[in-house]
């Protein structure tokens, strides 16, 4: 597409990158077909092509964002299905990230909006604060009817009935490999996930050490920064990211790392993008190193040899492809192949490319669209009559789990179980015993 940035505008590296992206777009409209919000709303303004156009107009004319433009960009899930579909290689993720940062800087949101975003940014990335908030929300749920805002209701609804105790596995330390050491890897233990569900990291550590990995939880690593990054709060997100980059760089320069393993694919997408986020920063080289070592747990597992298994469970597993994994990281077949290799029957829902509506904080910020996407996703998953649903992202697990009675687990929990670990809690106790929404 033609763009009309001036020479002066193009001196800004952010504008330069956005110009590059816009110049790739040929406005063919393929992206509309796989965009979840366009499926729900049927308005080009709520499609990638429409948003690209809105962003182009806003950036070219240096316009102060108006409420309508902001609304359409806010409605984007960042599921990145459009990037999988786009034949022209338009890097929508970098463009919308830029737009969000621009909006955050130039647009004054209504007070309630600002307050909500401030609260989320101050709580979610901090596991202890989040844990207390969840307990508070649980206590507050009876007063749900008092909440004036659908989004605040959604926040209360999000609080699980069961809040797990803190897992000491998530503290900085190193877990020794069982048998011959094969790799030394850092495990990103994350933020919100470990407050909501401690089983995932526990299972990951058991599985990796069983397969010969030394697993390091690096001192100083925490939230990846995605939550605030998607709100356009760049200084917050960069601070989180910088802490991680430094923490992992210490490990890389110390005993060395073969991989930085991430079992929450939403975070994985962001860590893999650190190289881009810090491309003009003093940490550029370190960030690029971190990104190049970052991998989803399934990407590491296919490099390791799964032991011959005696999995006789004959469970059929519906695999839900998290958007951050299938679109953000283009990891599509590994989780399914691993599950098959571990003896499970793997089923795939129709329209597997569509988002479940979780999308980070999206289910809190856009409860209506999110609920519609959840219904669609649950319907297509249940249509396959699975015994269990597996996903590689805590957000999706919580979202889908809140709409179905079929147990939802993390892929690693099944793989851990099949190779000698305990049966996943969800399967053992049913959905009532595990963290879930409402």
């Amino acid at each position: 597409m033609q763009t009309t940035f001036t020479e002066k505008q193009l001196q800004d590296p952010a504008i330069q990158r956005s110009n590059e992206i816009l110049r790739n777009c040929v406005h063919c409209g393929f992206c509309t077909a796989t965009c979840p919000t366009y499926q729900v709303l049927g308005d080009e303004l709520d499609s990638p092509r429409g948003r690209i156009y809105l962003i182009k107009d806003m950036l070219e004319n240096e316009r102060v964002p108006d409420a309508k433009t902001v609304r359409h960009i806010d409605r984007c899930l960042s599921c990145l299905a459009c990037m999988t579909t786009c034949p022209s290689g338009v890097h929508y993720m970098h463009l919308v990230d830029h737009a969000r940062e621009y909006i955050e800087a130039k647009y004054k949101r209504p007070f309630s909006d600002r307050a909500l975003r401030w609260v989320l940014a101050r709580i979610l990335p901090y596991p202890m604060r989040f844990r207390w908030a969840l307990i508070g929300a649980k206590l507050g749920r009876p007063f749900r009817f008092l909440m004036p805002d659908a989004r605040l209701k959604a926040m209360l609804d999000m609080a699980p009935r069961h809040i797990p105790p803190v897992s000491r596995n998530d503290d900085p330390q190193s877990f020794a490999p069982k048998g011959t050491p094969k790799k030394r890897v850092a495990l990103m233990t994350g933020c919100a996930q470990k407050a909501l569900n401690t089983d995932i990291n526990d299972a990951t550590i058991r599985l990796l050490t069983r397969l010969g990995c030394e697993v390091v939880v690096a001192e100083g690593a925490g939230c990846c920064g995605a939550l605030t990054h998607h709100m356009g709060k760049t200084s917050d997100s960069h601070a989180s990211a910088a802490a991680n980059i430094k923490a992992w760089t210490r490990e890389m320069d110390g005993d060395g790392l073969d991989a930085i393993v991430i079992n929450t694919s939403g975070c994985g997408t962001t860590v893999k993008d650190y190289g881009h986020m810090f491309r003009n920063d003093a940490l550029a080289a370190e960030a690029a190193r971190v990104s190049s070592l970052a991998m989803d747990i399934s990407e590491l597992l296919v490099q390791l040899e799964l032991p011959a298994n005696d999995n006789k469970s004959e469970l059929s597993v519906a695999y839900h492809a998290a958007c951050s994994l299938q679109h953000g990281q283009k990891v599509t077949s590994h989780p399914k192949n691993l599950l098959k290799a571990a003896g499970f029957t793997v089923l795939e829902p129709a329209d597997s490319h569509l988002c479940c509506g979780s999308a980070g904080t999206y289910n809190l910020m856009q409860p209506e669209i999110s609920a519609q996407l959840k219904q669609r996703k649950v319907r297509t998953l249940e249509a396959r009559n699975p015994d269990v649903i597996a996903a590689g992202n805590i957000g999706c697990m919580m979202q889908i789990g809140s709409g179905t009675d079929t147990p939802v687990v993390h892929t690693v929990e099944l793989l851990d179980w099949a190779t000698g670990g305990p049966e996943p809690r969800t399967l053992r106790d049913g959905m009532s015993g595990v963290p879930r929404l409402r």
Binding site: F30, G42, K68, T85, S88
Partner: protein
Amino acid sequence: MELPQPNPKVLARKRALLTRLQQVLPEDAVIHDEAETRVYECDALTAYKCPPMLAVLPSTTQQVSDVLRICHEEGVPVVPRGAGTSLAGGALPTADCVILGVARMNEVLEVDYDNRFIKIQTGRTNLSVTGAVEEEDFFYAPDPSSQLACAIAGNIAMNSGGAHCLKYGVTTNNLMGVTMVMMDGNVVEIGGAYLDAGGLDLLGVICGSEGQLGVVTEATLRILRKPEGARPVLMGFDDNEVAGQCVSDIIKSGILPVAIEFMDRLCIQACENFAHAGYPDCEALLIVEVEGSEAEIDGQLSKIIEIAKRHNPVELRESQSADESARIWLGRKSAFGAMGQINDYMCLDGTIPVSSLPFVLRRISELSEDYGLPVGNVFHAGDGNMHPLILFDANKPGDLEKCEAFGAEILKLCVDAGGCLTGEHGVGIEKRDLMNHQYAPQDLESQMAVKDVFDPSWLLNPAKVFPLNVSETRRMAAE
């Protein structure tokens, strides 16, 4: 590209019109803010753009009828829009128009396997029509490359084709009936779950009328049982003309493949980059697909490969798996978009007699030298439907104009070779001014006479198809 002057009387009535439209449509179905209407200023042809006065997104035939009735009463032009994937600017607005988008009308209304049809609302995408009948192993045959995104409404307006129409025909051959809203709001049903018209074939003239005769809101489409199997074979040649000759020989042999697609080096590289289909490194690639049982496929392919071997191919490779076939087609169907990795492009759509392929390809490459603009060729070779993609730099002053002039020369070349300006994309705005080259004044007059009957006030999709000077008297009279 010249657009008619907006009618000041219409612009002045914007507020009143908006109020009337808001009375018949839900709030979120009327788009009037300038920041928002701009998103509807063009389709997949971005060289020309013009923000509409308003855009509406009705969900039912009744709402479409209400919108058209009101616009008719107010004398406001209406530009119907499917998914906005036209490469000919078929959904380009005028400044005084209402864009009527049917994207929200995407329901399946009836599926009848015994009688082999599906009835849908026309905002449904082409591929999701097949999606609705796939579990029973049926499909909707016309497969334009944009089938993932394009709407049946636009397919009907442009009489879209696709790679597989060599065997299955284009939209008009698979369209059994429509519900159409006339500009005055009247709703008519034409055709249905039975074959052929009882009187004049109005369905035949509506299909391909580029949204100028009415707004088609529902359609009855023929569905077919999927073949037992299909397999593409890749044939690489080191010369475009040799590949063209091979196509002609295959067709003459009595075998009718379901598709014969052609790509030249530039396109092969761009598509490979996106789809990783394993296309060979060569000057010209043919993708030839046949269908049937394994044995039938083997039988046909062996005949085809025998013919190809006479032309010294640099590579001959049958697809080995369903996944490989899917990637081969993904690459081909994404060809236009994939060229976007290289530069801006203008995609042409002229059709020529298959026998003229070698000559026209040679001439295009000569013109490419003259104009200094590279051209990629990717097209449906079996039926001579070319798609030269002229690459240019939209940010470089003068490049678009050069590209337009080059494009016009190619299209005239197609007509002079015994072909036509457009095989499946439609005239739209892009080829409007070239219509005089293909048709004599009385030919155009007879086509416009049909519009006079369906849309006497010339409000539907104005400024398209017919050169502005040719339609001027009528448009003026209507104002």
